[in-house]
């Protein structure tokens, strides 16, 4: 996979020599947070298509959608006559990607970003590909500064100390709620702000049982929803009964913002970090 990425990047660089003459490259972005980055870099006029995970900003909805990034259609991608398919390691099927390369599309698969450092690296990478290096560097630096301003302890708190435990939920459908366990973007966000996951024993996203929610005793709650208003607290009395909820230490936000690890990462981190500050105050008052 690594080799493929390298080859792909080389291919892009090579193609740029010719593309520079022919005009700006036509890009398809098949990843929500990459799309967001392209917009943030002001390179959206190069986008000719996106995948179904790309929903932000609003303007993206006017672009043709080529389907889901794990089931990319060969002909559909090719129909938009792209020079570059910009996506992540998650893109599938592998054979479609291979054939797209054969058809002359430079396929660039960026690694997943699961930390502020990854995110900044990815922004720079995207900047290079869309030809906005300077702006990407500036954006990364700005991001670094904003994250530093949040004031997160550099070293993770020692084990056993009273660092805040956060329950991360993902609203799925109208009635289901999934808990984010290990190996999730949700956990990665908590880690980035120095919080602990209140459900550490689960791997991936698992359906939330009402009992487990009660038993988790979180200091704060974060809920990611894929469309505004999707999560309705009145359907989850157990959640409403938790101290963290009653005392207002919760944040309900867009899943792309919270889980995307894109340009809005500092905002996401700030929102979660402010919950933690409240939680610490409560904890210190209690002592």
């Amino acid at each position: 996979m690594r080799v493929m990425v390298l080859v792909a990047i080389c291919a892009v660089c090579l193609s740029f020599v010719t593309l520079a003459k022919a005009g700006e490259p036509r890009i398809i972005s098949a990843d929500g947070s990459i799309t967001e980055t392209v917009y943030a870099l002001g390179a959206q006029d190069r986008l000719v298509g996106v995948d179904t995970t790309s929903n932000y900003p609003e303007a993206v909805n006017s672009l043709p959608k080529v389907g889901y990034l794990r089931a990319l259609p060969f002909e559909g991608v090719l129909a938009l006559k792209p020079d570059v398919l910009l996506t992540t390691d998650e893109a599938e099927p592998a054979r479609t990607l291979e054939r797209l390369e054969q058809a002359g599309v430079a396929v660039v698969q960026l690694p997943l970003a699961r930390s502020p450092a990854d995110t900044m690296a990815r922004i720079r990478e995207v900047g290079r590909i869309v030809g906005k290096e300077a702006r990407a560097d500036a954006m990364a630096a700005e991001m670094q500064k904003r994250i530093a301003d949040i004031g997160i302890a550099e070293d993770p708190p020692p084990a056993g100390s009273a660092s805040a435990r956060v329950l991360f939920l993902m609203a799925a459908g109208d009635h289901g709620v999934m808990m984010a366990g290990r190996n999730t973007a949700g956990q990665a966000l908590l880690q980035a702000v120095g919080a602990r996951n209140a459900i550490p024993d689960v791997r991936g996203y698992k359906p939330a049982s009402r009992e487990a929610l009660l038993a988790s005793h979180p200091d704060a709650i974060v809920v990611a929803e894929s469309r505004p208003g999707q999560f309705r607290i009145d359907q989850w009395p157990q959640l409403a009964a938790l101290d963290a909820w009653k005392q207002g230490r919760y944040y309900v936000g867009d899943s792309m913002l919270l889980l995307g690890f894109g340009p809005r990462l500092p905002k996401a981190m700030k929102e979660v970090a402010s919950l933690l500050k409240e939680a610490e105050q409560v904890a210190s008052n209690g002592h």
């Binding site: 298509g49 179904t52 043709p64 959608k65 080529v66 389907g67 889901y68 794990r70 089931a71 259609p73 060969f74 002909e75 559909g76 991608v77 090719l78 129909a79 938009l80 998650e90 599938e92 099927p93 592998a94 054979r95 479609t96 054939r99 054969q102 058809a103 002359g104 190996n183 999730t184 791997r203 991936g204 996203y205 698992k206």
Partner: protein, 344 residues
């Protein structure tokens, strides 16, 4: 349309109509898609002097294998449905009934979910073929298992086969559920797409891999027509008429299992073809298998190619999963048919 005294279509005109439809749908299918190909491009490809390499690739390496594979898969699913309905003497039987789909799904999800861990060696070894080969093995393996369970004292009990199929379906379903539970969000999405079926990544090497099984089962099926006709009157009648009952059962299960296993391996789960097509054919042309088998093959292939064409055109440049498309077309159509026959 000409019908005879039993309300059926006359066979000659019906055959001509079906061949025409198959040809028309095939032509529409290869000329339509997300990538714009002009008539000139296609002509150029056919004559062999097209400059545009990408257009040539779209036509020759994408649409043509897709057409061939779509037709074969549709034909095999429909014919297997017809064979098993005859064997079980139940017009509602479906290749899923003897565990093909469940077994193939279990194997496929195992590759998707455990590909990075327990099955890593297999995935490294088989590469892109890891999933289709596993699905094929899972599908035909479960059929074989069901058949072994149903076989006692040298005879295959159709009733036990059905029950074994149900039990195996349940067990494989539980295994699939368990793997789903342990899968990550991303793996789950992959699996969901697999279960909705797709011909989207069909290439000539897929055709090369699946075609032998598909073609063999299509070619062997007509030889079962007479004993399966006898099956319609009851299992004992098959023997009375001088056919080898057990041999018929074995070959039928073998053909259906291998054929559907290969189909599922390259296209994922595609429902409805095996149920709707033979049903339609029986009601318009009669229930004799000498008609039902070839007509189902033709109609099943045409239907799937047509559905695939729609699937890649309606939401272009994206594609709908073909299994979904089939259910979208097949479901309401089948209901309409039921309501109409209820009235008359």
């Amino acid at each position: 349309m000409v019908t005879d005294a039993s309300g059926r279509l006359a066979r000659g005109p019906a055959l001509i109509l079906m061949l025409t439809a198959a040809l028309a749908v095939s032509v529409v299918s290869v000329t339509n898609g997300a990538y714009p190909l002009s008539a000139g491009d296609i002509l150029g490809v056919l004559v062999g002097d097209l400059e545009d390499e990408v257009a040539r690739m779209v036509f020759v390496d994408v649409r043509l294998p897709r057409l061939v594979l779509g037709f074969l898969v549709g034909a095999v699913l429909a014919v297997s449905g017809a064979l098993l309905q005859g064997l079980f003497r139940n017009p509602l039987a479906d290749p899923g009934l003897i565990g093909v789909s469940a077994g193939a799904s279990l194997a496929a999800i195992a590759v998707i979910v455990l590909g990075g861990t327990w099955l890593g060696g297999w995935v490294d070894l088989a590469g892109n073929w890891a999933l289709p080969i596993a699905a094929f093995a899972g599908g035909s393996g479960t059929v074989f298992l069901a058949w072994r369970i149903a076989r006692r004292a040298g005879e295959t009990s159709v009733a036990t086969l059905l029950l074994a199929g149900i039990a195996i379906n349940a067990i494989a379903g539980a295994g699939t559920g368990l793997l789903t539970f342990y899968s990550s969000d991303e793996e789950l999405r992959s699996l969901t797409f697999w279960t909705m079926g797709s011909l989207g990544h069909a290439a000539w090497d897929d055709v090369a891999m699946a075609a032998p099984w598909l073609v063999v089962s299509l070619c062997a099926a007509p030889f079962l027509a007479r004993p399966l006709d006898a099956f319609l009157l009851g299992e004992q009648v098959v023997g009375h008429l001088g056919y080898n009952t057990d041999w018929t059962k074995r070959i039928t299960i073998l053909i259906a299992g291998l054929g559907v296993g290969a189909a599922v391996a390259v296209s994922g789960l595609i429902g409805f073809v095996g149920l709707v097509v033979p049903h339609l054919v029986r009601h318009s042309l009669g229930a004799g298998h000498r008609i039902v088998i070839p007509a189902s093959a033709l109609a099943g292939g045409t239907l799937l190619v047509g559905a695939d064409c729609l699937a890649r055109v309606v939401v272009a440049p994206a594609e709908l999963p073909i299994g979904l498309m089939m259910a979208l077309i097949g479901g309401p159509f089948f209901l309409l048919l039921l309501l109409r026959t209820r009235v008359t």
